[in-house]
């Protein structure tokens, strides 16, 4: 039998992992967020707030707690890193009516998180407009220290970019077990972030849309686990 718990590893050793993009040092966290120590900026993508109520409006009564859960995770990260800036890379709301459906208590929690820090909403295809009740600066994209932060990655082999939109996920087949998890995927010149929202699914990174962005060589993949974030060799990954 394979022994699967290397003893030298403590539980928290994997909670976040260093990630390098165009020579800049970031830390990627197991919740699917990115922290940039030099800028004291926390970056998340595809929150899809109020996805549950969007389904409910169409008759499928999913539990209404997804916004609450997403904000709870965000609060944990803000506690941990104490960022000066939070950047949300688009599709922060599941649809343009999302803000109107948000529970007052959730809006209140959001406002508390926004106190004493810059909050930047980058717009995405699901949320071309962000309602003013959600405060923060609303922009299409921003460039900080030579790196572009936008919702949808530029087509082709662009560099100097951190984006979201595709909800990357990876399927690992190892020791006879198959495991599918959201992941960060990058090539040191650009990075696509996993979706952060509680109800967001994922698109396999072996899907055709990723290849033009990165080529297939030199891919770095970090899969999100419960206890940690794990760098995984692409050769262990499989199609769905």
């Amino acid at each position: 039998m394979n022994m699967l718990k290397p003893e030298r590893i403590g539980l928290d050793d994997f909670a976040d992992q260093p990630v390098n993009i165009c020579g800049k040092a970031f830390v990627a966290h197991k919740f699917g967020a990115l922290y940039w120590p030099a800028e004291r900026a926390l970056i998340v993508s595809d929150l899809h707030l109020e996805k549950g109520s969007a389904f409910a409006a169409r008759g499928q009564m999913l539990p209404p707690y997804d916004t609450r859960e997403t904000l709870r995770k965000l609060a944990t990260l803000i506690d941990r890193y104490q960022p000066e800036t939070v950047i949300s890379l688009g599709d922060s709301l599941h649809d343009s009516d999302g803000a109107a459906r948000m529970d007052a208590a959730d809006i209140e929690s959001l406002h508390i998180l926004q106190e004493d820090r810059d909050w930047i909403w980058i717009t995405g295809n699901h949320d071309p407009k962000i309602d003013r009740t959600l405060a923060g600066y609303v922009v299409q994209e921003i460039i900080v220290g030579g790196l572009a932060f936008r919702h949808e990655p530029l087509p082709g082999a662009a560099t100097h970019e951190i984006a979201g939109h595709f909800h990357p996920a990876a399927r690992l087949v190892f020791h006879g077990t198959s495991l599918r998890r959201p992941c960060f995927v990058g090539n040191r010149l650009r990075l696509v972030m996993p979706a952060f929202g509680a109800y967001t699914g994922g698109l396999n990174i072996l899907d055709g849309v990723f290849e033009p962005l990165f080529g297939m060589d030199g891919l770095d993949v970090w899969m999100l686990g419960h206890e940690g974030l794990y760098p995984v060799a692409p050769r262990l990954l499989r199609d769905d």
Binding site: M1, N2, M3, L4, K5, P6, I9, F14, K51, S53, F55, A56, A57, G59, Q60, M61, L62, P63, P64, Y65, D66, R68, E69, R101, D103, H167, R171, L172, V173, F174, H175, G176, T177, S178, L179, R181, A198, Y199, T200, G201, G202, L203, N204, M223, G225, H226, E227, G228, Y230, P231, V232, A233, L236, R238, D239, D240
Partner: protein, 878 residues
């Protein structure tokens, strides 16, 4: 049909009375009158009741109605609902229909609705079709003016629509179709004339979610047709009273259980069951019975038509391969299991009915009702796991009441010898496994409530009373009911944010109606309680290892569970549809395979239909084990094995549980023998591993089978016990079903699977419809995510309650584990050993064959990450 039914092996004695040219099913409906044997005297009124056409029909064939058929006529005349318990071959089905045939034929009834007179409900659509076919023959021969039709998912849309307006006299259908019919506004008109409802194979239906739904529908039918009478047809069961209560309205649910009448036909000849003793020595482990294939093949050769039953699809595939490998006479041997393509299954069934096959390897798909041919031998490969299942399967042989069925049990390993012996004794004693009494599932109730709203606005108080008249829901509280209605309307969340999206709206007179017609449409698409695990089609393609898969593939061989396909890597070989296949890849909803060159597949298991050992058989096995005086009756290798166990360790007493601890290799093992079935053992293993981890025993993994479980780790478990750092009494304390269970459930994949089923049945998640599927993973919301969120933010939610109830008796078998832990309190027999004991060998051999648990999912990720680090630092394993 050209059948050589008269060519019998000489040693078999059959009554000559049977007309050689009778239709096969008629023989099953009404057995020939036995001229040689004396029969119970007929009741004098009997012949009087029969209209001349029917009496003449009986007379023409030289038959007389059987006493139970007359008893049912008598009961029907008094409008008394009745449960008929009879073994296969007793003419059960005709007994159920006779009252209706006579009554419809006499025609003295007033039509106030659509004219549907009798509803026949069967668990299988194939059975409904089969019964219809075989009902039309007698009807035609009797010259009765009775129209019968079937209605299943396969019936054309036009016909189904017509049936709602202009139904036949007798409609043969399935529980799902009944629910569907009841959800239409015209249901009161359709069912206004309903006189009789016949439930076939009620024992297979009642104690399940389908049974719950059907019970609720029956309650509604009683409302629409207050004088309706029910007839239940059932095989022998341990506790008939639950089926009797199921058939009638529970008008005083708090205080009194009302029961239907019962008519019991005692089984004819006792089955002849023997346990195969092969020339090769019986193996320590495994279920394939490969060692005995030669003898199995010889038995097939000596009989006309054998049914070879196995417990899983994988075993079916395997046995099929093995039999063909030694099939020197090229006997026509077929294969039948639930994953095969429907067209392929139909072909095999047809061949069997036409007598073109000599043997058929099958799983539980052939357990029920349908009479495919003249089976004269049932072979069971591996232990049957339950006494009732064995009797049901044996009943497939020889559909004539007065001849003994013949069966051979082939144990797969040494423990299974004990189990087969136990099953044999139980079957000979006619003992059945008692099914757990169940209370109706809340997810099913949710589905029903919405269905009722689709039919017409309902008054909650009235619907509550109606629902409680169904036996499974007799114990339902008003608050549970109200929460369910609330769930249907708005999801029933503690956070009341969906009121404005409510699906149910109040009317002016205090009733609830559906908010819009689209809801009813949606409901009808998602009806039913059968939720299949996601399946992928298996398509055989021509070329191998091609980088790009062809857009159009070849033949579809059948379907496999998605999770099975997901763990395959291109190049893996497995057996499916009777051939060795090479996995090439998955695209959309299809698995692409090619024919493999190898004859020896890697045979990874996919466990369609693995049943755990029944409580009743487990007790018999424990009894047998603890009583050395019966060992001499066991095959030598098995008796020797048990003798050795007394020498090296101990045999536990009947009321004890044995726990052995010993070192092996560089690991320390703990092996326990609860005999409570695989599912309960898996749960126990998960919980023990957690506890051992906390105590510092560093467990690494565990494996479980039906009899025992083994946990291993780095910590010296014997030493920890000797030092007083670990107490077995505390380790096995019932309190493990508290926090430990709760913590584990948060992560348990089995629990998530259970939740998904409840979510689909309750209508929270839509079914995946074929064709609509596409690779929609990023579009649909995974129920795992919903489960996580709900557990954290609304732990008392109705759906979690429903899923928990299911898990307790289903995949996690917590109820059984709880009973076990209570039973063994202060009865743990601990043996410290230097090495593995004889009794422990089978379960240890399963390491590496069976799935090993205890590796949490993060551990897999961590190991994969480690692999990357090794690769990066240049000391990769390969």
């Amino acid at each position: 049909m050209p059948r050589k039914a008269t060519e019998k092996p000489p040693q078999k004695l059959r009554p000559k009375a049977r007309p050689a040219k009778s239709k096969p099913r008629s023989a099953a409906l009404v057995a020939p009158s036995e001229k040689k044997k004396s029969r119970p005297p007929r009741t004098s009124s009997a012949t009087v009741q029969l209209p001349p056409e029917i009496a003449a029909w009986f007379a023409r064939r030289g038959w007389t109605p059987r006493p139970h058929q007359l008893a049912l006529l008598e009961a029907a005349r008094e409008r008394r609902s009745t449960l008929l318990i009879a073994p296969t071959g007793a003419g059960k089905t005709l007994a159920g229909f006779l009252p209706s045939l006579i009554s419809i034929h006499n025609g003295n009834r007033k039509k106030t609705g659509a004219g549907l007179y009798t509803l026949y409900v069967s668990p299988l659509k194939a059975l409904a079709a089969d019964v219809e076919r075989n009902l039309t023959h007698p009807i035609e021969e009797m010259g009765l003016k009775v129209r019968t039709e079937t209605r299943t998912g396969d019936t054309s849309l036009a016909r189904r629509q017509r049936q709602r307006v202009k139904p036949p006299h007798i409609l043969l259908t399935t529980p799902e179709q009944v629910a569907l019919l009841l959800s239409h506004p015209d249901a009161p008109y359709l069912f206004a004339d309903l006189d009789t409802i016949i439930f076939d194979e009620l024992h297979a239906l009642a104690a399940s979610k389908r049974g719950d739904l059907l019970a609720l529908d029956l309650a509604r039918l009683r409302k629409l047709a207050p004088n309706v009478m029910t007839i239940g047809l059932s095989a022998t069961v341990a506790r008939p009273s639950e089926l009797r209560g199921y058939l009638v309205a529970q008008t005083e649910p708090e205080t009194t259980t009302h029961l239907a009448d019962i008519v019991t036909v005692k089984g004819g000849a006792k089955p002849i069951i023997r346990i195969l003793e092969a020339e090769n020595e019986i193996p320590w482990t495994g279920h394939t019975a490969r060692y005995a294939m030669r003898e199995v093949y010889d038995a097939i050769r000596a009989h006309k038509l054998s049914l070879v039953f196995v417990n899983t699809r994988m075993q079916a595939e395997y046995a099929f391969q093995e039999l063909w490998r030694i099939n020197d006479d090229s006997l026509p041997i077929g294969l039948h299991h639930g994953s095969l393509d429907g067209a392929q299954r139909k072909k095999v069934e047809a061949a069997m009915a036409e007598g073109r096959l000599r043997a058929i390897v099958a799983t539980s798909t052939l357990d029920l009702g349908i009479d495919w041919g003249d089976v004269d031998l049932v072979i069971h490969l591996g232990a049957p796991k339950g006494a009732s299942r064995l009797l049901q399967r044996i009943g497939r042989a020889n559909h004539r009441l007065d001849e003994p069925s013949e069966a051979i049990l082939v144990p797969g390993n040494r423990f299974e010898v004990l189990e087969c012996r136990a099953a044999q004794q139980a079957a000979e004693a006619g003992d059945q496994d008692a099914q757990l009494s169940r209370s109706g599932a809340l997810d099913v109730l949710a589905q029903h409530v919405l269905g009722m709203a689709c039919e017409a606005p309902f008054d909650p108080a009235a619907l509550f009373d109606e629902v409680r008249s169904a036996l499974p829901y007799a114990g339902l509280t008003r608050s549970q009911f109200d929460r369910t209605v609330d769930f249907v309307s708005t999801g029933g969340y503690a956070l009341r944010s969906y009121e404005r999206f409510a699906k149910l709206r109040p009317t002016d007179n205090g009733k609830l109606r559906v908010a819009n017609p689209a809801i009813a449409q949606q409901y009808r698409l998602n009806i039913g309680t059968i939720v299949d695990a996601p399946h992928l089609k298996v398509r055989l393609i021509a070329h191998r290892g091609a980088k790009r898969m062809p857009s159009m593939g070849g033949r579809v061989l059948g379907e496999v569970e998605e999770y099975f396909a997901e763990q395959l890597t291109p190049g893996d070989t497995f057996v499916f549809a009777g051939q060795v296949l090479r996995f090439e890849g998955i695209r959309d909803t299809e698995v692409f395979v090619t024919r493999a060159a190898t004859e020896d597949p890697m045979v990874p298991s996919y466990d369609g239909g693995k049943f755990p050992l029944s409580t009743h058989l487990a007790r018999r096995v424990r009894d047998m084990l603890s009583d050395p005086s019966v060992w001499s009756g066991l095959p030598n290798p098995v008796a020797n094995w048990l003798e050795l166990q007394t020498e090296f360790s101990v045999i536990p007493a009947q009321d004890e549980v044995l726990v052995e601890t010993f070192p092996r290799g560089n690991r320390h093992f703990l092996v326990a023998y609860p005999f409570e079935g695989r599912l309960a053992h898996q749960t126990l293993g998960m919980l023990l591993t957690r506890r051992l981890d906390r105590i510092g025993a560093h467990p690494v993994g565990f494996v479980a089978n039906d009899y025992a479980l083994a946990v291993w780790g780095h910590g010296d478990i014997s030493g920890l016990i000797a030092d007083g750092k670990l107490s077995l009494a505390e380790l096995f304390d019932e309190d493990m079903l508290g926090d430990d269970l709760d913590a584990w459930l948060a992560e348990s994949a089995l629990m998530k699977r259970t939740f998904r089923l409840a979510a689909v049945i309750a209508g929270l998640i839509e079914r995946r419809h074929p064709g609509k599927v596409k690779s929609g993973r990023q579009v649909t919301i995974s129920t795992d995510l919903i489960y996580d969120v709900l557990r954290r933010h609304d732990p008392d939610h109705l759906l979690l309650e429903a899923a928990w109830t299911d898990a307790a008796t289903g995949l996690l078998d917590i109820r059984r584990l709880g009973t076990f832990l209570a039973r063994i309190k202060n009865r743990i027999r601990h043996q410290v050993l230097d090495h593995v004991s004889p009794l422990a060998v089978p379960v240890l051999l399963e390491i590496g064959v069976e799935l090993v648990y205890g590796q949490d999912r993060d551990a897999i990720l961590r190991a994969a990450a480690d692999e990357l680090i090794r690769e990066a630092t240049g000391d990769a394993a390969q």
